[in-house]
Amino acid sequence: MTVETERFSKRLDNFFFAPEVPYGLALLRIAFPIVLMGMVLPRWHVARELYSTDGAPAQLSVGYGYMDILPEFSGTIAVALYAIMIFALICTSIGWCTRPSLIISAVLFTYFTMMDYVSSMTKYTVIATHLLTILSLSQCGSLWSVDSWLAGRKRQSWPGEPSIAYEKFPAWPRRLIQLFIGVVYFGAAITKMHTPLFFTGDMLQYWMQTHINFKHPIGEYISLYPILLVAFAYVTIVWEIMFIFLCWKGSWRLLILPVGILFHFMTTLTLGLLMFPMVCYCTYLSFMDEDDYRQIAAGFRRVCRRSAWMKSAMTHVTAWRERIGNPVGWQTNARAAFVFSMALFAVANVEVEHWLDLYGERRAEGKYTLTQIEPDEVAKLMAPTEPFRVKDRFLAVDTGTILVGDRLANRRTQFRQGETVIAQCNLIPPHEDMYVEFKLHDSENRIVSRQGNIATRELFRTNFNYTLTDSTPTGEYTLVVETAGQPVLRKKFLVQDKHGRAAAN
């Protein structure tokens, strides 16, 4: 037992504290701020409006019953701090004063996102906060950075060159990021377990029809095939649960990470998410260890050898580095330059923002005026809420022959004698308890079958079965769905004889 414990503690120690060159973290440090710029830069020109007392900040804490726990600054200070955050993110990426840059980035990024839960705070910004914080504890700036160059470690800075001289550090920051992303997926799986309608495809169907994110036309198309969504739902939750157990090594990692890349790519196509997938892709860089790096470096060397222009480019860059010489003596000056540049950048941003005049208060024509609303639109907006139309309680009626998980798996409009037609009427929640009647009309508009179901308020769909016997005449039929005597939906389908022939006429 003691031996087992020692072995486990040894393994745990090795897991967190094995020395390694932080290739993965260095790549993450370079790529992640660039990705975050996709979120940070579009908010720069409205920083005054989103984050200052001169605008309309919306603190996250208010939703939790804590009124404004963060200090709110004036517009000028908010713009200056926002500029400092951008500067720190840029410096993080290039690795200039890496640790101070990361600490400044983490603090200010968290502050600004918490100041605006409406349009800045999302789960990917939360992931970003975790990543910036963990990176600030790591030695990610020890290679491929201005810092390492200033420290005179420039000679080994090309992929493929011997890495024996690189300093090694304990692996724990990288391990924390790996565990973190695994926990995020595990938590996401718990959310899905709490949402039974995720497994019926209803939730995904409605998200894919939602027009609140970026464009996602494929989502609308796939939403018409809920049976696919049910399958995706199960694959997703299995993958999310298994990720933290299988992402570490070997062939499982080669499966689980590409599935993750595909999964996030699909969320872009079907749900219109852009930043979330990019942020998650960045976290995958933490799975790159020294072996992976060596393989990639070997590949890079092969490409360089084969490509004349790459070989020439490398020669030029190396010559350029040699001309600059050894910059060790620049370190002290570089730190002072960092502080000075940051202050200069902030002042310049404040000046430019002032000149841009977000609110137009210094325009020659004066302040903006409010946009008037036309009387017709006012009447529409101010009118008492209209009663909910009966047709808006119904989503669609479909016909087929196979049910999978109470979903119609094969939508068809042609049937043969001998088959059982399943008509599925999908309802839009919330709806009242309803009596839903299915009436089957033949080609001469005679009602040949009539069946009613009670759709209680919790139901999302109700089905109707009709067996086509030898005596069922071939031809076109119309299924009419009614409630309270009011026709709501129609679906036409064709009945052929048992050999698949339509009626002669």
């Binding site: 967190f16 504290f17 409205v46 605008g55 309309a56 919306a58 804490s61 409406v118 349009s119 800045s120 999302t122 789960k123 939360v126 906060t129 504890l137 304990p170 724990w172 973190f180 926990v183 595990f186 938590g187 996401a188 718990i190 959310t191 309608l197 209803d202 939730m203 409605y206 998200w207 029809q209 939602t210 027009h211 609140i212 970026f214 036309p217 609308e220 198309y221 018409l224 969320t267 749900l271 219109g272 998410l273 979330f276 005026t369 409010l370 946009t371 609303i373 006012v378 907006l381 101010m382 009118a383 809420t385 209209e386 047709k391 808006d392 989503l395 669609a396 919330p430 308020r457 939906l489």
Partner: protein
């Protein structure tokens, strides 16, 4: 010393992540503090079958109505082509956005500010080609407008109503004569105003002010993932 600090950091961080997962799994204390938002992974936890847009409207003393969001200067659309106010499912920021617009524009005195929800079933979001492929009926899109809240010209709350989908849910339940009758039994009260005779009838009602409206649990029914 350095190693012990590292071990302490690892232990603290993993404990925080584990507590977040436990809290989320057991649905306990998830809204206890804003910090919980950093440890609860509830992406896409909510959904609705209705698309909702918010109209923030100011009514001038002349009776003229003005659009207060998007502001006349604003071109900012955080996640697509919708302005910022459309992403506030909680509704805490509407009046701040409205007052900011008023503060930075020339306008007549504003008497009241209205927040109006526009809702429609999401099936009408399908483009024409997909609609034609799925439905035999012509597309007959229709929006419902629902008064969510009214504020005075200074931003003070006058009236606050449940959102449209909640109202539909309440109507679906209260559309039951027995429940309605039960809701009136055993609840003595004095009606001093004829208009309040139905005040205790169980049906969707206005509430004001908002602090009486319920728990502090955040209602993330928007795509927090993005």
């Amino acid at each position: 010393m350095k190693r012990w600090l590292a071990k302490l950091t690892i232990g603290t961080y993993l404990t925080a992540l584990a507590l977040g997962i436990g809290s989320h799994a057991m649905n306990f204390g998830t809204g206890a503090h804003p910090a919980m938002y950093y440890f609860i992974w509830d992406m896409f936890c909510g959904w609705s079958a209705h698309e909702v847009r918010y109209h923030i409207v100011g009514e001038g003393e002349s009776g003229q109505h003005y659009r207060l969001s998007p502001a006349p200067w604003s071109t900012f659309a955080p996640y697509g082509d919708l302005e910022r106010a459309q992403y506030d499912a909680l509704g805490n920021s509407y009046i701040k956005i409205a007052m900011n617009t008023l503060r930075h524009t020339d306008h007549e005195p504003i008497a009241r500010i209205f927040v109006i929800e526009e809702a429609w079933p999401k099936k009408y979001n399908l483009p024409e080609n997909l609609w034609a492929a799925r439905f035999d009926e012509p597309k007959d899109a229709h929006s419902y407008f629902h008064l969510k809240s009214i504020y005075d010209g200074e931003g003070g709350l006058i009236q606050f109503n449940p959102d449209y989908v909640t109202t539909l849910q309440q109507l679906a339940i209260t559309n039951n004569p027995r429940l309605r009758a039960d809701s009136l039994r055993g609840r003595p009260f004095f009606a001093v105003d004829p208009a309040h005779r139905g005040a205790y009838l169980m049906e969707p009602q206005s509430v004001s002010p908002p602090e009486s409206s319920g728990s502090n649990e955040p209602q993330w029914n928007r795509p927090s993932a993005n």
